[in-house]
């Protein structure tokens, strides 16, 4: 499989207000087409920053992001983002169905097909009954699902999700996890999924990238060698699942303590600190 997403030497330094924060400190990784990769890392380590750079919403300080070989300088077509601040990413003046339909309209999807996509996406996230409601009439978890429905109705080739299940209850969360896996398998979409939840990362992903504390680097990159057919009971009871979870947990703890990733002899030398 060819790499659809290549992140090379990505650095992002926030400057302003007399503060200088190096959020992302030299990231290198590639994601092959059709992979479901999960990113875990401690809070404030730069996950959202990374995702925004990948989405073309923010210019990195140095380094580059390439999508299908093309450098990303602006939001590319065929990419959808589910933002961490899901509530603020919905149009309060539009109904739920119109929120989902708006990007499709802008993309030029014909009316009948649009209606079908909206109907199906809302059914997928269990919100068929809420189509006519306004976002502020829904609970936080339901708003989150509207944002997810909007992203999947868009039928992107690359889907970026920033802690999309943070506001939903455990039961809905399990359902949405299976929904994302189902959609991923059905649509062949490449998914970059940010989460705090180690269990979720291992359950969902084909691969888990553990990020270090800010300025973030790749602390660990492990393949999740669980069977492709997963279900909440048997997969989570699997011995291999427990092993993987323990390993990711240990790496995240190490990242929180501020341990730097072991220098990779094959990697280019890090720039000397000034």
């Amino acid at each position: 499989m060819s790499a659809v997403l290549e992140v090379t030497g990505l650095r992002k330094v926030y400057e302003g207000g007399g503060r200088r924060v190096e959020a992302v400190g030299g990231l290198d990784f590639t994601v092959p087409a059709g992979q479901l990769a999960c990113l875990v890392g401690p809070s404030g380590c730069g996950k959202t920053t990374l995702l925004k750079c990948v989405a073309g919403l923010m210019r990195p300080t140095s380094g580059s992001v390439r999508l299908a070989g093309e450098p990303v300088t602006e939001p590319p077509p065929d990419m959808a983002v589910v933002f961490q601040e899901y509530g603020r990413s919905l149009f309060a003046w539009l109904s739920v169905a119109d929120n989902v339909a708006l990007p499709l309209k802008e993309k030029g999807v014909p009316r009948a097909r649009r209606a079908e996509l909206v109907r199906r996406a809302l059914a997928d996230v269990g919100l068929s009954d809420a189509a006519g409601a306004h976002p502020w009439q829904l609970s936080g978890g339901m708003q989150q699902r509207v944002a997810i429905a909007r992203a999947i109705a868009y039928e992107p080739r690359v889907l970026l999700m920033d802690e999309p299940f943070a506001a939903v209850d455990a039961q809905t969360r399990a359902e949405l996890e299976d929904l994302i896996r189902g959609l991923w398998q059905r649509l062949g979409v490449t998914v970059l999924f940010v989460t705090h939840d180690i269990d979720e990362a291992v359950y969902l992903g084909q691969r888990v990238l553990v990020l270090s504390a800010s300025p973030t680097r790749v602390q660990d990159d492990l393949a999740v060698d669980l069977p492709d057919r997963r279900d909440q009971l048997t997969t989570r009871g699997d011995v291999r699942f427990t092993e993987l979870r323990a390993r990711v947990y240990a790496r995240v703890q190490a990242a929180k303590r501020g341990e730097r990733p072991a220098p990779d002899p094959s990697a280019p030398p890090a720039p000397a600190p000034r």
Partner: protein, 265 residues
């Protein structure tokens, strides 16, 4: 029966609530007029009779209608101008930096201060009068629009960018809609300024209009007629304000719902 009766009773109570204070004030006016017997303070019934005599005639077409037309034309022009300029300034940091000092100045100037200047400008023709109205009421619209456009939520702006929603759709569905509460607040202020300026522009150097007529009556010591003109102005203001409320309620339906939801109903 009981439901219909209940509804009628509710309606009756509501009518009572709405009318109680105006009725009380008219009664007070009556008492004041009767006790003072002042030439300048006619009783309400005299004013009502005069009102019918004066305004249920071709005068309503000759004097009231041109006023209303100028008022609405000036208000509409100011709305278009204020929203267009405000959107441009609010969207561009460079344009904002350039215009900021001037805008700050206008924000600090209360509109009535402009009246003497506008009187000088208010010529005899319609265009001048409309211009006076526009120049007075464009400011609250402009300033509020700038504020509203600046306050567009960055997450929502990023959402539009990532779904490649741009140009006219972005303007219509993101910028203007999210600024609409401020724009409506600006329009509301502008409407009352527009009424004031309409009257003022007609009181000087004019040959028609409500303001002109009221001043004519006053100069001719036609006191009940003068009062009837003032009443008509009040009714006009009330009608415009009610119409505006209706429009606002439908435009900002979502906003009131959102506010209620975040306050916890």
């Amino acid at each position: 029966m009981s439901r219909g009766g209940g509804a009628a009773a509710r309606l009756g109570r509501r009518a009572l609530r709405v009318c109680a204070l105006p009725a009380g004030l008219v009664a007070l006016w009556w008492a004041a007029a009767a006790s003072s017997r002042s030439y300048y303070l006619p009783a309400p019934d005299a004013v009502a009779v005069t009102f019918a005599e004066v305004w249920f005639s071709e005068r309503i077409l000759a004097d009231a209608l041109p006023s209303v037309v100028r008022l609405l034309a000036g208000f509409a022009l100011a709305a278009v101008l204020g929203v267009a300029l405000g959107t441009a300034i609010g969207s561009s940091p460079r344009l904002r930096a350039f215009t900021e000092p001037v805008l700050e100045f206008w924000r600090a100037v209360p509109p009535p201060v402009l009246v003497p200047l506008l009187i000088l400008l208010a010529g005899i023709d319609d265009a001048m009068k409309v211009l006076v109205i526009v120049s007075g009421c464009v400011w609250p619209i402009l300033l509020n629009t700038v504020e509203g456009v600046r306050a567009v939520d960055p997450v929502l702006a990023d959402t539009c960018r990532s779904y490649r929603i741009s140009g006219f759709t972005r303007l219509r569905t993101l910028v203007l809609r999210s600024a609409s509460p401020q724009i409506m607040a600006g329009l509301r202020q502008a409407l009352s300024i527009a009424i004031i300026l309409m009257v003022i522009s007609e009181m000087f150097a004019s040959s028609s209009g409500l303001g002109f007529t009221i001043v004519q009556f006053q100069r001719g010591f036609a006191i009940p007629e003068m009062w009837s003109g003032i009443v008509l102005l009040g009714l006009l203001g009330l009608a415009l304000s009610l119409a505006f409320q209706r429009v606002e309620r439908s435009v900002l339906d979502w906003y009131h719902g959102l506010r209620a939801a975040t306050r916890g109903e």
